[in-house]
Structures are given as C-alpha cells and as structure tokens.
Subunit: 295 residues, 2 copies
C-alpha cells in the first residue's frame, strides 16, 4: 500500500479547513469548506469534512481513492460533548484511521507543535486548554451565559448593559456609551430587540467599540476591559499551575488583551508554532503511531 | 346609576390580584387569579382580569352586572411595550373606564399613595419607577441579558459562572461555590444544561445561596453582592436626581439589600404605603376624576 498521509482538520461553526501532509511533513494540499457545526447535524458536518479533504487532496494532485491511506486528526467544536463523541464513533469514515478532539485541543497541539503548553482562545467565545505533565485539561468555554467572560460576545453584551444604564442617566454618558447607543439610533427598545435574538457573534460585533474607546481612555470602556481581565488572568494562572510552561493567545480579541496583561503573565506569552490544522496533523501522527506506523 | 366602584389590578406573570373599593375607600372585595402575562396572550390575560374582578365583586356580595359601574386601574407587566398598549386599547372591556400602566408604575403609585416617590423593584428582575415633578420615569427593567443587574436572576446566573470558574481551579473553591456545585452534583455539564433552558425565575432559585453565604462572609458571594450594589445604587441615586423625595424597596431581594445600602440612601428608604393593587385603585381614581366624577 502507498505511503500514509496525515490530514489535519479544523472544523468550526463558520468553516472547515483541511491540510494534508505526507508522513515526512511535506505539504500535499490544503482546502477550505463550509460549516462543520456538529450541533447543526453530525452527518452534514462529516460530509463537509470528507468533501473538503478530497479537495485538499486534489490541490496536491491526488484523488478520492487516496482517502483510504489518510490518517485524520479532527478538531471539532463540540467533540467534548459525550453524545456527540459517541455518535461520531458510530459513523464509518473513508479514512484509514481517525482521531477526534475538540478544536481547543487541536489548537493547543498546533500552537506548541505537539509539546507542552497552554492556549487561551479569546474570540467570540473563550476557551482554554493545557497540555502538560502527560495530561490534557480544558477550562471554561461553556458559553456566554455562565462562562466565556471577556469574549467578544461578553464584551458586546456588557457594552449594551452599560449603554442602557447611561441612557437612564444612572452612569455617565461617555463617548463610548454614545457610540454604542448610536448603533441603535439611541433607542433602548432597539437594543432590547437586538439582544432578544442576538447570537454570540452578533454581540461580538460590538466588541471593537469597547477596545477602541478603552484605548482612548474612556472610563466606561476601561471598566469593561478591566473586569474582563479580572476573569481571564485567573484562567491563565490556573494553566501555569497545571504545568503549562508557556502561553499562546489565540482568537480575535487576543491582540487587544496582550498589551494589558500583567507583566509576569506577558513574559510567558509565545507566538503559536502552528495553527489548529497543524494540531490536527499532530493528532493524526499520534493516531498513526498508535496504529503501528513509524513516528 | 349606582355609585362608581374603583378596581385595582396587579397583573403579573405569575398571578393576577384584584381589589375593589367604593369611591369613599371602603373595601368591597378582593380576589386572586391565574397568570395575566400579556406576552403569552393579551385576550387570555384580559379574560383572567375580568374573571378575577368578578370574583372580587362576589366576595363583596356584588355580581357581574356591577362590572359596568367599575373604573379600573390596570398595572400590567409589558404595558410599556407600544404594540401591547395599542392592542389593549383596541379591546372592549366590560368596565365603565379603564387606565393602563405597567406594573412598576402602579407599584409606585401604591407605595406612595399616589404622591411623589421612587420605587426599586428588586425581585426576579429589577425595575425602577419615579413619580416626581409632574413626570413619571421608568428606569431599567429590560431583562437579565442586558439589564436587571442585581436581580435574583442575575445573582443566580453569576453564581453559576463563579462556581464554574472555581470548579476549573481558577478561583478559590469557597463554601458558597461548593454549595452551588452541590446543587448540580458537582457537574459542569449539568450546570450548562440547566442554564441552556433556564428562565429568569429558574436562575433566581440560586439567589438565596448567594445571600446566605454573603451573610456568612464568603468572599465569592460577597463579591457578587458588592458588584450588584455597584449597579443598583446608581439607579437609586438617579431617582433622587429626578426628584424622588423617598425610596421604597420592593421585591424578594429587597430585604437582603436593605442592610447593605450606603447610609445616605438608607436614610431615604420608607416602607411602602400600599401595594400595587392600591396603586391600581389610585390610577382608577384618576381615571374616574378625568371622566368627570368627584375625586
């Protein structure tokens, strides 16, 4: 049989990205497909993953027949939900072997090239993953209602709360609050109507306003950022306790938080070595190794 | 025509309470009915209000024929939503005349016997109403996602967030956090599952844990209460700015907040003169006066 191939899949709610490498690490191909949201339908997500992998193979001059020599490492949002993992393992995929982890784990594998380290995903939501001392720990990531403090969604939701209090005259109407209100023509009713049906990413569209005004020293925006840091830093410190020798900050909010971190934490921040697809390839290599192939 | 009667209706999501008085203030009767939630169906809510009024008349030896001599003051949650008010005014009710306000306004009328003052409803949600200087102002009350800071729902939701961070080891596992976790057999998954479908009143069931532990000095519970006060006190101060000479605290959380208020605010707190039904009767009396009857 022809040489094995390693496939790394980063399957998120927005899109699915796939990279294929040969065992020696040579890039074979890469492709991007639609949503791989397992909650919207596991079979549709798996079909998207397979189709996107075929297209990645095609960019490297290979075809669907080569799927059978692929070891795949899948990082999927939702893979930590037991019912999802169980349903997944009941499916037959056209790969030689498959490893499944949540996308936070593959992001961590990618950021530290399979070695020890901890990542903070600071995006529309937040989630943390540590791989150290032979263990793997996920922290946070339970959604904006009871978790995800400091995420784009959380900052946006709290921006609305702040603006409503300013509109009532209970807090100073700072330029930040004015900017938030302007998005809704100054109408409390419009804000409440928006919030009633807004998804996390909708709330997240307001986060840049928080950052822009915090950077200009707006006291209301500053307070939101400072509260967020009070929730994020304990998670970073917990990752150090769990043995993480370094921290990688990922996600859209990460560059905004970076200059505000406490100096002792900032000193441990490193640039990610690779992305989540690379982490999927690292997982695929482990699957290959465990199934008897050479490392 | 026989003497007019004054009907005060406190129509909330849980139940509908009706009190009837004669023009000279003599109590005629009182009754309690089911939900008068206008959002679950305006016609059903109005039917409940009429039926409960008939039962209140019956407790005073009167009958359905007496509805036609009733001036009714209705305090309904949701009456400040323009579409609800519009639909309401398109309906024919069997009363001689009807006044409609939100329940916060009738609560304020009741608490200050129709005079000037401000109320803070600190219950499952929060809402504030000031009647002073010839104006009536509603503050807050926009629901737990972007408002209602310090409500039972808000305290309960934040108790879950705190417990999840403690479970991750990112915050100290205080007795308060342990007590919250115990409600869910220590399972983060169970907390997240609960939160996914919980209504405000469901989150509110956790608020007593916050208070009990804050009173024992638990630092995590103390922090939640202190943050809540930082959101509530500016609303109370705003009511003073708007001319409120005194403050009445209503709702299930009110007795817990009272001993923690800043002394200058505490000095202005008064016991409510009457309840929301009495406020409805005050509104009914105003309707009667405006329709030409003696005050």
């Amino acid at each position: 049989m022809a040489d094995r191939l390693l496939v790394g899949v980063d399957g998120g709610g927005t899109n699915c990205r796939v990279r294929v490498r040969s065992l020696d690490g040579t890039l074979v191909g890469e492709a991007q497909g639609g949503t791989a949201n397992v909650f919207a339908g596991l079979d549709a997500a798996l079909a998207t993953i397979v189709a996107t992998t075929e297209r990645a193979l095609a960019t490297g001059g290979l075809g669907a027949a080569d799927l059978a020599r692929c070891h795949a490492g899948l990082g999927l949002a939702g893979a930590n939900v037991p019912s999802v993992a169980e349903a997944f393992h009941a499916r037959r995929l056209p790969f030689a072997a498959v490893g499944l982890e949540t996308d936070a784990v593959t992001a961590c594998r990618g950021a530290f090239a399979g070695g020890e380290g901890g990542i903070a995903i600071l995006g529309t939501g937040t989630a943390y993953c540590v791989r150290a001392r032979g263990a793997q720990t996920l922290l946070g990531g339970w959604g904006m209602l009871v978790s995800d403090q400091g995420s784009g969604a959380d900052l946006g939701r709290r921006a609305l709360a702040e603006a409503l209090m300013a509109l009532d005259g209970a807090r100073p109407l700072t330029p930040f609050c004015e900017a938030v209100l302007m998005r809704f023509d100054g109408s409390a009713g419009a804000i409440v109507e928006f919030a009633r049906t807004a998804l996390p990413r909708d709330f997240g569209t307001l986060a840049p306003l928080v950052w822009d005004h915090a950077e200009r020293g707006d006291p209301a925006a500053e307070r939101l950022v400072s509260t967020a840091l009070d929730d994020i830093e304990p998670m970073l410190r917990r990752m150090l306790e769990l043995g993480s020798p370094a921290l990688a900050l990922l996600g859209g909010q990460a560059p905004r938080y970076r200059p505000r971190l406490s100096p002792d934490l900032d000193a441990l921040v490193v640039e990610p070595a690779g992305d989540a697809m690379e982490g999927g390839i690292d997982l695929a290599r482990e699957v290959h190794r465990m199934s008897g192939g050479p490392a």
